[in-house]
């Protein structure tokens, strides 16, 4: 029945206010996060692996040096890139990034910009001459829905793990000398957390959709909040119309989720710092 009439199969569960995998409508899947050298990328300056149920996303941050842009001489760059390789799901073909990957990359760039989580002026080393470029590569290893939440979480965790080496500019030669022994952690001002919802049949809202639920849904909403309860981004790319009240419900749920995620990140960071 599930393969023949997936929508009817789902409707039966939704009538009872629960989902086939046993979750409530407002319940998230089990979230686990691995930061830094414990099981993640050792060659990157910062990395994190996030698992949201089956959806697995890994983020690696590499810091490189570059000259800042002419019109913003005291700002560095953060360049996020989301990749959906064909190994994560049969719906993605290998080749140039598809629309979903590009839209996700743009979304992450917007979140970084809107939430001001990293002040670009902090990334500048010498005004007009040298600045850090943080290349954040977010790669999905297993796609089971809710890519945006997992990506934002992985990015946040990886950036918290980044240690930037001290850079001195040699006055005589004009070249930069990187001191790998002296490292300072990256200053993160805000901690944005994304919460995604799927809209069913114009009325029902379910949290943290799996890939199957996303396919059957008639629309999606993603809300990004930061610690103060401010909205960094309300992303609703089309889909069924929602009233203002329903949107308000989503926002309240997102704020609760933010607290849970923040607690999780703090716990993980505390557990790795003594090393």
């Amino acid at each position: 029945f599930r393969t023949v009439e997936p929508l009817e199969y789902y409707r039966r569960f939704l009538k009872e206010n629960c989902r086939p995998d046993g979750r409530e409508l407002g319940e998230f899947r089990a979230t686990t996060v691995n930061i830094g050298n414990t099981g993640s990328i050792t060659t990157a300056d910062g990395s994190a692996l996030v698992k949201l149920g089956n959806t697995t996303v890994i983020c690696g941050v590499k810091a490189e040096l570059a000259a800042p842009a002419v019109d913003s001489a005291n700002k560095g760059y953060i360049v996020p890139n989301v990749e959906l390789p064909s190994l994560c799901s049969e719906r993605f073909r290998s080749g140039p990034p598809g629309e979903e990957a590009q839209a996700a990359s743009q979304f992450i760039a917007d979140v970084i910009e809107n939430s001001q989580m990293i002040v670009k002026e902090d990334l500048c080393i010498a005004n007009g001459k040298l600045a850090w470029v943080l290349y954040c590569d977010i790669i999905c290893l297993d796609y089971d829905g809710n890519l945006l939440d997992a990506s934002v979480f992985a990015l946040l965790a990886a950036l918290k793990n980044v240690q930037l080496p001290a850079v001195l500019i040699n006055e005589e030669t004009g070249l930069s000398e990187v001191n790998l022994k002296q490292k300072t952690p990256l200053i993160i001002k805000k901690h944005p957390v994304a919460t995604s919802f799927a809209i069913f049949d114009d009325t029902l809202l379910i949290v943290d959709p799996t890939a199957e639920e996303e396919d059957l849904a008639t629309g999606t909403v993603t809300i990004v909040t930061d610690e103060e309860g401010r909205l960094c981004s309300v992303h609703k790319p089309g889909g069924s119309p929602l009233t203002g009240a329903k949107l308000q419900d989503c926002i309240t749920r997102a704020i609760t989720r933010h607290k849970e995620v923040k607690k999780l990140i703090d716990k993980v960071i505390k557990s790795i710092t003594p090393k």
């Binding site: 743009q106 809107n114 992303h235 790319p237 089309g238 203002g244």
Partner: protein, 190 residues
């Protein structure tokens, strides 16, 4: 608040329902494709993201089930950008859908709100107002019950401010829908 607020103008061309390529055709509904071309340069990641938003907004209103296995292509060319670009694209897309006579379940319109540093709400901001604003929110409002079809935000704002912007946008939507009615009346009364 009108279709080209200030000097922003977008040209929209709609082609369809036409025969779809085998790889792109869907068995039960029409396949919608949106192409957004910026004024200068090649389309990049930002255009792709805008295309996805426009496509899903149009898919929600177009009754695709009446034209299965066909392709509807919407091409938008930005002629000039003086602020509120995304809502201009939304309005152009809706008018193109109307002009082509495609079956729609409702109309939609795009409204942009800018939140100034002092909390003042400006509708249809110019490029300079957008830059000075603390946050810029774009909504696509549908014509039947003024519900929200699409939202995008730039910059951060509080929840109350977002609700206020939404209410203001819903009120402004009435003016835009009246404009649609007037332009169509002019077109078909000749």
């Amino acid at each position: 608040p009108c279709l080209s607020p200030g000097d922003t103008s977008v040209l929209a061309g709609l082609y369809g329902p036409a025969e779809a390529k085998l790889s792109k055709e869907l068995p039960d509904r029409a396949a919608l494709e949106v192409l957004l071309r910026p004024k200068v340069g090649l389309p990049g990641v930002l255009e792709r993201s805008r295309e996805q938003q426009l496509r899903q907004t149009c898919e929600a209103v177009v009754l695709g089930a009446l034209h299965p296995r066909t392709a509807i292509t919407l091409v938008l060319q930005v002629l000039s950008d003086a602020g509120s670009l995304l809502s201009c694209c939304l309005n152009a897309a809706c008018m193109a859908l109307l002009d082509a006579g495609l079956p729609l379940c409702s109309l939609f319109c795009g409204v942009t709100c800018a939140l100034g540093p002092d909390g003042a709400i400006t509708l249809d901001p110019t490029a300079r107002q957008e830059q000075e604003a603390r946050a810029v929110l774009t909504f696509a409002i549908d014509s039947r019950e003024r519900k929200v079809l699409m939202t995008t935000t730039k910059g951060s704002c509080s929840v109350e401010e977002m609700q206020q912007c939404l209410a203001a946008a819903q009120r402004a939507a009435d003016t835009v829908f009246q404009f649609y009615r007037d332009s169509l009346r002019r077109r078909y009364s000749k």
